[in-house]
């Protein structure tokens, strides 16, 4: 019997998984690409082979509602991700100090992360509630607010409030990643910097920051990709409203394909979203690669 080369063996071993992946992910993807060039409609069966060329894409790019959903998404991403990074790093720095109850606090911080998004969304909907919400109660009691507001009912505040709920849930991920990086910093490095004459800020800038910048930027890209695809929290909290003020691209795709049942056009939106995600993922891979090289 001839001996198989290592690569041949590897391919054999990978084959079952690859077949599954191609079946589960590849087939729908190809189907989506196919639909995006048709006038497919969920309830009219013969539309799925009506070839319309690039019409769907041209329409999508020209659609003002879609463009405004891109605007909403960008706002959501920039606001929530930058807040998550800032908060996460600050909390990690705090949790890295020695104090009583540190272990308990570390455990508590992870809690939001463990919460299912849907539960988190419902919880915050209650907190923001216009009639009995805790936020209204708190703000009026401390005198910051004159009368109860409908936080999620107001187009000017709804998206920000949804983002805040998302920040609360996701900053712990950043904190966790940063804390792990902080713990790899050796005490010797900090003490060497101290003896070299570095003050607290210089120690942060020259010793701590270089050690956390790579992991934090990975967290940043990961969170950006996730935030860009945001769907479930919006579905539960606002369904894209009021007045489409919280409608993000994923939500737009969902509506187009499943609420309005325009599968063909929905697929073209989905592909545009996928392309943007792919670009973000490329950045992520690039970062990972660079991190691998410096480590």
């Amino acid at each position: 019997m001839t001996q198989m080369s290592k690569t041949t063996v590897a391919w054999y071993l990978l084959a079952p998984m690859m077949i599954i992946i191609v079946g589960v992910a590849g087939y729908p993807l190809i189907k989506t690409v196919y639909f995006s060039f048709t006038a497919a409609h969920l309830v009219s069966p013969d539309t799925s082979d009506q070839w319309v060329g690039l019409t769907n894409f041209l329409k999508a790019l020209g659609n003002a509602k879609f463009r405004s959903s891109i605007g909403n998404t960008v706002y959501f991403v920039v606001f929530s991700v930058s807040a998550e990074i800032l908060l996460g790093v600050l909390v990690a720095l705090l949790l890295n100090q020695e104090f009583h109850g540190r272990t308990l606090l570390r455990a508590l911080v992870i809690l939001p992360l463990a919460l299912p998004t849907v539960v988190n969304a419902m919880m915050w909907r209650l907190i923001y509630g216009p009639d009995f919400g805790a936020l209204n109660a708190l703000l009026t009691q401390v005198g910051l607010l004159a009368e109860y507001r409908s936080w999620l009912g107001d187009p000017s505040s709804a998206l920000t409030m949804v983002a805040l709920a998302d920040i609360w849930k996701n900053f712990p991920l950043v904190a966790l990643i940063t804390l792990a990086a902080l713990q790899t910093i050796s005490r010797d490095h900090l003490e060497a910097a101290l003896l070299d004459g570095a003050n607290a800020w210089q120690r942060f800038w020259h010793v701590v920051f270089p050690a956390i910048v790579a992991p934090v930027s990975v967290a940043l890209v990961l969170r950006t990709i996730e935030a860009f695809k945001v769907f479930d929290i919006i579905y539960v909290m606002t369904r894209g409203g009021p007045a489409s003020s919280t409608k993000t691209v994923s939500f737009h795709v969902y509506q187009e394909a499943f609420a309005y049942m325009r599968v063909g056009s929905g697929a073209s939106y989905a592909l545009i979203v996928v392309l943007i995600s792919a670009a973000l993922i490329a950045v992520y891979l690039k970062l990972l690669q660079r991190q691998g090289e410096t480590a």
Partner: protein, 351 residues
Amino acid sequence: MTGLTLKQVNKKFGEFPVIHEVDLSIDSGELVVFVGPSGCGKSTLLRLIAGLEDITSGEFWIGGQRADQLLAAARNIAMVFQSYALYPHMTVAENIGFPLKLAKLPRARIAEKVAAVGESLRLGALFDRKPGQLSGGQRQRVAIGRALARDPKVLLLDEPLSNLDAALRLEMRMELSRLHKQLAATMVYVTHDQVEAMTLADRIVIMREGKVEQVGTPLELYSRPANVFVAEFIGSPKMNVFSADLDRSGGNPVIRLSEQTALSAEGAAGSRVFAGIRPEHMTPVDDGGLRGVVTAVEHLGADTLVHFDSAFMEGGIARINGISGVRTGENIGFQVAAEQYHLFSENGNRL
């Protein structure tokens, strides 16, 4: 360069005393080595000097200045860490120049200084590399370079060679010795390797359990150890120490190791003393002397280690010059010059 003075220095971590009543003065330009078994407080003492830990009580002076309240950065003391603690994202040149950059020296001045330090440590060719691309010995030299860059008053080194292999350790030891002479710097060096201590030190401080056991030049410690602990710690293989009964029948107390050898143990109290003989001071003789039975023979080439059991001690070692024909099981005798005996009282102190 400046001297250091410690007066009755104590250090506790919580309730746990680590440094106990240390009195020590280190002269300007001196190279002092702290040596002692693991956990005896060497690093802690060094960190107290550096200002990385606060002393619990006592006084610490740098030159004529009281310094125990002085911040680490203000002491102008540099330290080389056992782990080297090089900044991984900076090049060699940036690492060396870092303290100068923090001191806000002009760029040209920094470059000049870095070049000078690099030259004296033969680092020039490595300036653009990152620490990850250096060998252990090279990292060590960069760490020393960074410490020297800003002309510190005192240079502290905590087990700087313990991560290097034996050959490199020897080389770096010579290098440090050369550097010390060239800079005439005050240096405090921590090691638990007594060979390193003996070869490098102007003076050695031997520590045990937070206390200083003896301070002296390497030769003083070797030839007049203050107690049994020091006697056994310095020298390799270590000194043979055994207890011997005092014979007071003739007036002055003596100990009898064989029929011919009676050693005066003047000033000894109680009924027993400890006697010590260094392995290298035992010469084999055919008749008489201290008799024993050879239990093992180790040939090191330049000399031979003979392990023996005898009436006065078990597990003794003698070091014989050259290659010896002694065999295991043989009966052997050793002659020891009277002045080569070390006698210690029952509590371990030298008589």
